[in-house]
């Protein structure tokens, strides 16, 4: 494989893939380096219903279609890459992975976010972060979903289709953050109970098997009898590898200007990894578009 590119995109979610598509359409040689698989968090979304053009589509299917379009446009993708080192200062940027060293004159960081693990000082085998992966074992069983955002409600809907006996959804904050339409859809099921202002404090196990959990209801503790727990407590930015290189905000997001430029010449950031208020597939794509066109301009005028 050619190791030299015009643009290297770090991360293959909607922002990174959009940036790569625009780069390819501008006849730039573009590589996506992805530590997992292309698609980002959308892959974990069972159903996407707010993406223009599709009334309803599985997240993974949407991203597979996108990846196919990229490959057709000539974008090179290195997935399940282990990034060992990154050199961003200077005219030539370098990305060291387990399969080679790649160079480019511009880099677009689109490394996105990753799920926040639950903060419990316990090892519990029945705590899960993916209902599609681990939900089947809970048919006719009682499950707890932690997190009242879009992910929590979306994954809860999937668990209902698997035939769980009961589903209790709890949210720590004083309201649910999921879109009203998704809330309505889930709460229409008789097997579902959803409560906010409640947090999980302890799991009780017998011979390694979860028997019940204790929750803090703000009016005292309460016991819930559940067989498994699915956690969707939001995400944190995947920026550990940039900590010492780029200015990050207090939460760890990369700070850019409106053209997606970071403080390092030739380094741009796009999508969920960037400091901003709204994080949707469509806004990630907008960021990716801007980052790519500005990177193209940067390469052209230098």
């Amino acid at each position: 494989m050619d190791q030299n590119f015009d643009i290297i995109v770090l991360g293959g979610g909607p922002a990174g893939m959009t940036a790569a598509l625009y780069a390819a359409k501008a006849n730039l040689k573009c590589l996506i380096v992805e530590t997992s698989i292309c698609g980002g968090l959308v892959n974990s979304t069972y159903v996407v219903e707010n993406f223009p053009t599709y009334e309803s589509i599985h997240g993974m299917e949407l991203m597979e279609r996108f990846q196919k379009q990229l490959v057709g446009a000539g974008v090179i993708i290195e997935d399940v890459a282990e990034i060992e080192k990154i050199h961003l200062i200077g005219n030539i940027k370098k990305v060291y992975t387990d399969t080679g060293i790649y160079t480019s004159r511009a880099v677009i960081i689109a490394s996105g976010r990753q799920p926040i693990p639950i903060d419990l000082d316990q090892e519990v085998d029945q705590i899960h972060y993916c209902s599609i992966c681990d939900g089947t074992a809970y048919k006719n069983k009682d499950v707890l979903v932690v997190g009242g955002g879009n992910s929590g409600f979306d994954e809860a809907l999937y668990l209902i289709t698997l035939g769980v006996k009961s589903l209790t959804l709890i949210e720590q904050a004083d309201r649910f953050f999921a879109a009203k339409s998704v809330q309505k859809k889930l709460l229409a099921h008789k097997r579902v109970k959803a409560m906010h202002s409640i947090s999980l404090i302890r799991c009780n196990l017998e011979n390694g098997q979860l028997t019940n959990v204790e929750v803090d209801t703000q009016h005292g503790n309460k016991t819930l009898f559940v067989d498994g727990i699915f956690v969707f407590m939001g995400q944190k930015p995947s920026t550990d590898m940039f900590k010492s290189i780029l200015p990050l905000d207090e939460q760890g997001y990369i700070v850019t200007d409106e053209n997606m430029m970071t403080s390092i010449a030739g380094v741009f950031a796009a999508g969920d990894v960037r400091q901003k208020q709204i994080r949707q597939i469509t806004t990630a794509m907008s960021d990716g578009t801007i980052a790519s066109l500005c990177a193209e301009r940067y390469l052209r005028i230098r």
Partner: protein, 104 residues
Amino acid sequence: MGDFIEITEKDFETIVAKTQEGLVIFYKKLCPHCKNMEKVLLKFSAKNENIAILRINQEENPEACRIAGVERCPTIVIIKQGAISSSKPGLMNPKELILFYQNA
């Protein structure tokens, strides 16, 4: 995915019995970690051509899941000398998979 051989529960036990060195990935169609794991298997198979890589759809083959004791996906089931020698659910990176296979 790649050149992996798709099997079903009809031939699961026969194929296991015939396989000297191999592994099976139990997957689901819409499982992102399964897709990720299959990419890891592609890297693994490139360096281990003698090891048969098989895949089986978990949702369509519940009997094979029962036989192999698989509840979650992805689960990697290692076959050595015609028998299941070990299994592990969840994601592994290429290095972890090599180590897991060697110790199975």
